[in-house]
Amino acid sequence: MSRDITISVLKFNPRDEDSKPEFVEYNLKETPGMTLFIALTKIREEIDADLSFDFVCRAGICGSCGMVVNGVPTLACRTLIENYPDGKLQLIPMPAFELIKDLSVNTGKWMDNMSTKVESWIVSNDEVDITKIEEKMDPDTADAVFELDRCIECGICVASCATALMRPDFVGPAGLNRIARFSIDPRDKRTDDDFYELIGDDNGIFGCMSLLSCEDHCPKHLPLQNKIAYLRRKLVSVK
């Protein structure tokens, strides 16, 4: 039952003057339940010790391992080889992010920049007295906030979004989601006016062209379509 598979990887080291981007093919035997994490680790240990890629949690939780698999950005650690009937996988580093080497891209830098741009934190003048009972929050509201707080900053939505690829200053679906998350959080005292200051332009909410590739590829299934529409309605009516 173990079949031969071919994984072809776009290798390139932008920091090495001699390096040219090229596809390198690796042939290996599939093992039961093999994921791209297992396969790539095996390649590194047994075939090409020089192959760079990023895994941290290998469980689809940390958002480190986004890459383009047969054209589609996905979390590599959650990619089962057996879902590819012809046993051929082509791996490309995610676009939109600074390329570090081979499959490794700097999503962290992009996300930090985005987080700072959209001020991805609670803004409030109320001091929380931590010795006192916490402020109450409606359970449904808490759940709704959590729903949007689940983004793992994997960058897959960004790499899927043609708008983000064409326009590097676009805050991207992840950034828009962040605003939606804070705008429904009662602890955040920002008004629509304040949010408009952050994303009320063509690099923000009005730059999104509703391509919905973000919605269709987000590994956490965040309701991006719905929330982006919500923000658009909200911010277009800001006086």
């Binding site: 941290v56 469980a59 962290g108 991805s120 931590i130």
Partner: protein
């Protein structure tokens, strides 16, 4: 030569490091956080189940307070913890959670009215009072008297980490990722920062600071079968060890989690059992009640893990290509519950194993097996979080042996420790930076930098025939097999010898690519020897500790030996060329304990070799309590009289609770 100066240097950007960085930054210090990976990818993100804090909001946690949390923690630790630290911890935990609520963690909240819950595999109705509606909710976790584990569905660590990381961004903490600390700079028994390798450019730099805080998390990857992320290699502890001065505490105390999924090792949260999931054997029989009639699946982790292995050894495991395993059944909780509260668990089962755990009957059972999960041991510190030996070196989080976990930590106490220690240790750390001057010569910095430069060059020039990947793999398998859940003198002895051989072999490797940047094999080549040193500390410590305590279980010494072993193991590596750690011990003082050693309340009885001081101290404590209660003193005053403890900031203030005056 690239030198960066700062006031406060924090190595590791998980929950612990980031929270500590905020403590320093908020005191006006110029603070830098270094991390291997973007900080939001730190392993803290993987904590699913929750964080313990005795808020006592919901019905099932009513009446909870610091005292109960303390007693659970001490029992959990099998009396191996530092009780003063445990007190500091339980007293600050409610504040930590409330602080996090203010920073945006969307804690799951209490909903008034009745709901069905599965307790002990039986449907039970719980009714929440209206005045609790909207307060922070908690769930059940192993080894706790009350439902004390606060959570956000099953992504608690993720939401906590994101809130703290965003708070750090907000406060403009200087966070630098893809930077790896590879050694500490020290002189005259004081630490002055670290030599750091940029993982993108391969460049070595020196970070110089008034004090350095290591919060690099655990070292699970020393084992093959582990729930830990691939970056959990214990480098922080290792570089502290390599100073030759700082010590590591209780390295043999390694926790195994009962329910990682087979074969990937991805953890299925304790919440599965906390919410009412059960374990079944090859016959579909629920076996835990046979072994632990009272706590059943919710006995502490070490107990459950051992019972599972024991049951497998009794021939009741489920055979599979990856060896025998046990079934975890959460389908009895009902689809609705799973899809709401255990969504990540369901996703993991579906994606990695093709099983939908909400499906009723054997189809929905998930294969699980105990695997390495948590390192109680780490950099040994004082109560302030500063190394006992190396001044200016602090540590917090899983990397530290601050020692509130002793020989076994309770589920939910660890993410709780990260933020609480981040608050407490972070403040002591910041104060140290404020109180001390930088007085290090650049020539010293040069020396350390040159040494690491040379080390890398040496590695690249090695021309042996060993593969570093093979060495690592051998070490991991060895640790699984011989330094695992069940231990004995013979296997531990073998492990020590073989690990030492492996360490020597690392001098005989060959790194294929000679590039200094973007060369993953080179990174393995300088990390694996460090990992082997930690592995040796674990194996050697375990070999010498001839008793069973908490997670450290010796089949040849089944009893907990309070008479001879109520002490903490300290490992150090005084000489660079040593191939074996130097082990010493530090006594725990029973006469200062608020809770003298006794039976834990789970596991077999009569398995303790008593220390006569235990009874003596117990009498003392009882007497004191009785007297004070008569005099009408409240629990805080009594506690204070029994064992006084100190906290920075306003953390010593009382925690307000509903239904408590």
């Amino acid at each position: 030569m690239k030198i960066t100066y700062c006031d406060a240097l924090i190595i590791g950007g998980g929950l612990a490091g980031l929270r500590a960085s905020l403590a320093a930054q908020k005191k006006g210090l110029n603070t830098i956080v270094l991390s291997l990976v973007p900080v939001k990818r730190s392993h803290s993100a993987a904590a699913q189940g929750g964080m313990q804090a005795s808020l006592g909001n919901s019905k099932m946690s009513e009446g909870d307070n610091e005292d109960l949390h303390f007693s659970d923690t001490v029992k959990g630790s099998d009396w191996g913890c530092d009780q003063e630290v445990a007190r500091m911890f339980v007293h600050t935990a409610p504040k930590a959670i409330r602080e996090l609520a203010g920073w945006g963690v969307p804690w799951t909240r209490v909903r008034e009215g009745s709901r069905e819950a599965v307790i002990n595999a039986k449907k039970t109705t719980i009714t929440e009072d209206a005045d609790r509606h909207g307060l922070i909710m908690s769930r059940d976790f192993g080894g706790t008297k009350k439902w004390r584990t606060c959570y956000t569905s099953d992504a608690t660590g993720h939401t906590m980490l994101f809130s703290v990381a965003n708070e750090a961004l907000k406060n403009e903490v200087d966070i630098r990722d893809r930077k790896e600390a590879i050694s500490l700079i020290h002189e005259n028994e004081r630490c002055y920062g670290a030599i750091v390798r940029d993982l993108i450019t391969g460049e070595l730099e020196a970070y110089i600071s008034k004090a350095t805080c290591i919060s690099t998390g655990g070292y699970g990857r020393i084992y093959k079968q582990t729930t830990n992320a691939v970056i959990c290699e214990g480098m922080g502890a290792a570089i502290a060890l390599e100073t030759g001065i700082a010590t590591l505490g209780n390295m043999e105390a390694v926790q195994f989690h009962p329910t990682p999924i087979v074969p990937s090792g991805i953890l299925l949260t304790e919440g599965c059992r906390g919410d009412g999931g059960i374990l079944r054997d090859v016959d579909g029989h629920r076996f835990m009640p046979d072994y632990e009639p009272e706590k059943k699946e919710l006995a502490s982790r070490d107990v459950v893990s051992r019972r599972m292995i024991e049951h497998i050894r009794n021939g009741k495991g489920v055979p599979s290509p990856y060896g025998d395993h046990i079934w975890l059944d959460i389908s009895i909780l009902g689809r609705e519950h799973i899809e709401k509260n255990l969504r990540d668990v369901q996703e993991i089962c579906k994606i990695f194993n093709g099983i939908d755990p909400a499906e009723e009957g054997p189809k929905g059972w998930v294969p699980v097996l105990p695997m390495q999960h948590y390192s109680m041991g780490g950099i040994r510190t004082k109560k302030t979080g500063e190394s006992q030996k190396l001044s200016g070196l602090f540590s917090c989080g899983e990397a530290a042996c601050w020692d509130m976990h002793g020989f076994n930590r309770l589920g939910g106490n660890s993410v709780s420790e990260t933020v609480v220690a981040g608050m407490i240790v972070g403040n002591y750390f910041a104060d140290y930076c404020i109180d001390n001057e930088l007085d290090i010569k650049t020539s010293t910095i040069d020396k350390f930098l040159a040494k690491e430069e040379k080390n890398i060059n040496t590695i690249l020039s090695l021309d042996g025939d060993e593969s570093i990947f093979k060495i690592k793999d051998t070490m991991q398998r060895l640790m699984d097999k011989k330094v695992g859940i069940f231990r004995d003198g013979v296997h531990l002895g073998e492990a020590v010898v073989q690990l030492e051989e492996l360490l020597k072999k690392t001098k005989n490797i060959n790194v294929k690519s000679k590039a200094k940047a973007g060369n993953p094999e080179l990174e393995e080549a300088y990390r694996v020897p460090k990992m082997l040193k930690l592995a040796l500390c674990i194996a050697k410590g375990a070999q010498q500790r001839t008793e069973s305590r908490g997670a450290h279980y010796r089949e040849d010494f089944l009893k907990r030996d309070d008479k001879n072993w109520l002490k903490r193991t300290l490992s150090s590596w005084p000489n660079e060329n040593d191939t074996m750690p130097t082990i010493s011990y530090e006594d725990l003082d029973i006469m200062k304990m608020e809770m003298p050693p006794a039976f834990r309340g789970y596991g077999a009885k009569g398995m303790i070799i008593e220390n006569e001081l235990s009874t003596k101290r117990q009498e003392e404590v009882d007497e004191l309590r009785e007297k004070m209660e008569e005099a009408g003193k409240d629990r805080h005053q009594i506690q204070d009289a029994m064992m006084n403890f100190d906290l920075p900031m306003n953390y010593r203030e009382k925690n307000e609770r509903m239904g408590e005056k």
